[in-house]
């Protein structure tokens, strides 16, 4: 039982990071129908930016303030990165064939990844060990650290906030409208370009939180880690039903838990392959993901 619960905790931790990153994929896909392959690399970039800020301010600020400032400034800078990405690589291709934008996204991914390598070098960079006090709770043989609790709580809060934003605010409603029908949204007086930029801003900022968690929890960051996290998060978004925000959250969590249980109960050598087998099975039986594209129904 402890093993089961421990695996659940393991899975939820990585799952919330996947979910945060997956949200960026799913939101952009929602409005642009574009797989933003550069999103994972943006997340990697945010981890580096976060580290720089952390090192600059370490010792100057109190720990709580340090973490707060690091989070906020990293989110802001990464969001700007998202805006630049949209402007430079995607907006010029808005009317081009869809696959051209995919190539552009792959190109952007290469630019960011190699840019990180040129600036910070190919060696892994390492987050300081005690940004968050290294406290570990032992709940009857199930171990959970303060950092893990932070990851879970902050992710959950952000996801709820995003859900409320998208469902309860004017801009959020506009965002959903753009995802359904951009021309009709224009007829409502919605500035679709602005909504798209907002989408990139939110997606990148959430990704930045994911990147910081990777740095603070797993500590080692590498210039090419964007691919693995990006791919997993993207798969999470697909599993949940791409374009669907609760779907991305569910997909991320499920992927994390599933990964943990495969490694734990079946075979670690095959965990990656089995994860994708699951994806393929879901695709065969539910071609638009678990939650799918929301069908019209009475509420």
């Amino acid at each position: 039982m402890e093993i089961f619960l421990q695996q659940l905790v393991n899975g939820l931790t990585i799952g919330s990071i996947y979910a945060l990153v997956a949200l960026g994929y799913t939101m952009v896909y929602g409005v642009l129908k574009l797989i933003n392959f550069a999103h994972g690399d943006l997340v990697a970039l945010s981890a580096y930016i976060g580290l720089v800020i952390l090192m600059q301010l370490a010792g100057v600020l109190s720990p709580a303030l340090l973490i707060l400032i690091t989070f906020i400034s990293t989110m802001v800078i990464t969001a700007i990165g998202g805006i630049v990405l949209e402007r430079a690589a995607y907006r010029p291709l808005r009317r081009a064939p869809r696959l051209s934008a995919v190539v552009s996204a792959l190109g952007a991914s290469m630019v960011i990844e190699n840019g990180i390598m040129l600036i910070w070098g190919p060696m892994p960079k390492i987050y300081p060990a005690s940004v968050v006090p290294n406290i570990n709770f032992d709940l009857h043989g199930v171990y959970i650290s303060l950092m893990q609790i932070l990851v879970l709580v902050i992710s959950l809060v952000l996801m709820v906030a995003l859900y409320l934003f998208v469902n309860r605010t004017k801009l959020g409603t506009a965002m959903r409208a753009c995802a359904i029908d951009q021309d009709a949204a224009r007829l409502m007086g919605i500035d679709v370009d602005k909504v798209i930029v907002t989408t990139f801003v939110i997606g990148s900022a959430l990704g930045a939180v994911g990147g910081l968690f990777i740095g603070m929890y797993y500590r080692g960051i590498t210039f090419n880690m964007g691919w693995i996290y990006g791919l997993n998060a993207f798969v999470a978004a697909i599993i949940g039903g791409i374009g669907n925000i609760p779907g991305a959250m569910l997909g991320g969590m499920l992927l994390g838990i599933f990964n943990a249980f495969i490694s734990g109960y079946i075979s670690s050598s095959w965990s990656m392959a089995l994860t994708y087998v699951l994806l393929i099975i879901i695709m065969i039986f539910r071609p638009t993901g678990i939650l799918g594209e929301r069908v019209a129904e009475k509420v």
Partner: protein, 378 residues
């Protein structure tokens, strides 16, 4: 028609690029085949820097046999396909010897090409398969997996008396070979291996596999992969409240391991030949000083130094034989060179190109976050 003229222009440019060949001069060319970009870029770049430093020193003293040495570097990106291309390029550039590559996979992919061209190759690759082909051109400058495996098994059973052993590797050639060899030797010596598994290098989240291992109640986890993963595995073991020891194979021997594991590094064991700064030999100290002076950093790892030794024996053999005939040089290295004072210890080669003798040691990381020797080969 317009597009064809574009292509024509392109063709001309290509043709020009192809025809520009390296003009011959009276120099000795040494190749470096290393991962300058990609996952192992830091190691590759360090090897390249070190080779250039040694060559610079030799050239300053007037070169070799009265000739200047020129270094030609080729980036194999740590990929087998590129390694083969690199090998052909270096052969074509007329190098007499090649240092590299860093990974066993790339070394192995390039080996037959150097062999057919009669170009000497020296690599730190530890995979046992590297010397299996019996190519006379190949010289290993580090110790092979097999001797590390044997040492590890002895350390586990004779010194630590582990009763339940878990072993994990990643998917790299090197790691799989080393870990398999360790497990084999352990079993041969009667050790009880309760779990073996693999991790995906770089995936960062190892808690699921560790949680699973925990249920086997091992008293030690052996990890035969790289420090980037090893440091995290160690940290996550501690976070999961695991009491088992951690023993890392040679590739965990990197200062970054301690940084990654943080406080959890304390008490971890590593098995390797000595660290650069722990090398007792004066040549080593001298070299490290020069390296730091020139590049303001430490070499990426001990592997850089092995390669430097590979280069140094080849240069030494050229001087001794007063010849650029690789057959003669190889013969000298195989049969005449005895206990050359390398910076990683005395160097001699077996007829299959294997470096004779090993200097493996087991270290523990103490509360001072420094290495302390706990066991060495008798």
């Amino acid at each position: 028609m317009k597009r064809w003229s574009l292509v024509g222009l392109l063709a001309v440019v290509v043709a020009l690029l192809f025809t520009v060949s390296v003009f011959a001069a009276d120099v000795i060319k040494i190749g470096v085949q290393a991962p300058i970009t990609g996952k192992f870029a830091s190691e590759g770049q360090s090897i390249d820097k070190a080779v250039r430093l040694v060559v610079e020193q030799v050239n300053k003293k007037g070169g070799l046999l009265g000739k200047k040495i020129v270094v030609i570097t080729c980036d194999d990106e740590g990929k087998a396909v590129k390694a083969a291309i690199c090998a052909r390029k270096l052969v074509n550039d007329g190098v007499i010897a090649v240092i590299g590559s860093y990974t066993s996979t790339c070394t192995e992919a390039a080996e037959p090409i150097y062999y057919r061209a009669g170009v000497l190759q020296t690599s730190d690759g530890t995979s046992d398969t590297l010397v299996k082909h019996g190519y006379w051109t190949f010289f290993r400058n580090s110790s092979p997996n097999s001797s590390e495996a044997k040492f590890t098994a002895e350390f586990f059973l004779k010194k630590q008396h582990y009763k339940r052993i878990a072993a994990i590797s990643d998917y790299s050639t090197f790691s799989v070979n080393l870990t398999t060899a360790v497990v084999k030797d352990l079993k041969k010596m009667g050790g009880n291996v309760v779990y073996t598994g693999k991790i995906v290098s770089g995936s960062q989240n190892f808690t699921p596999i560790l949680t699973k291992i925990k249920s086997y109640h091992p008293d030690v986890i052996y990890f035969g992969g790289y420090y980037t993963d090893g440091g995290l595995i160690r940290a996550q073991m501690v976070q999961l409240g695991m009491k088992a020891d951690f023993v890392g194979g040679d590739s965990n021997d990197n200062p970054e391991f301690i940084k990654l594991a943080g406080k959890a590094a304390v008490g971890a064991y590593l098995i390797d030949v000595p660290l650069p700064e722990m090398l007792p030999y004066p040549a080593a100290k001298k070299f490290l000083k020069a390296y730091r002076a020139k590049y303001h950093e430490n070499p990426a790892s001990i592997w850089t130094l092995f390669n430097v030794d590979g280069l140094r024996v080849i240069l030494y053999a050229i001087q001794k034989t007063k010849s650029l005939d690789t057959k003669k040089i190889a013969h000298y290295l195989h049969y005449e060179l005895k206990n050359f004072p390398g910076i990683t210890g005395p160097i001699s080669f077996a007829p299959n190109g294997e470096r004779i003798g090993s200097a493996y040691m087991a270290y523990i990381i103490g509360p001072d976050l420094k290495y302390h020797i706990v066991y060495r080969e008798k």
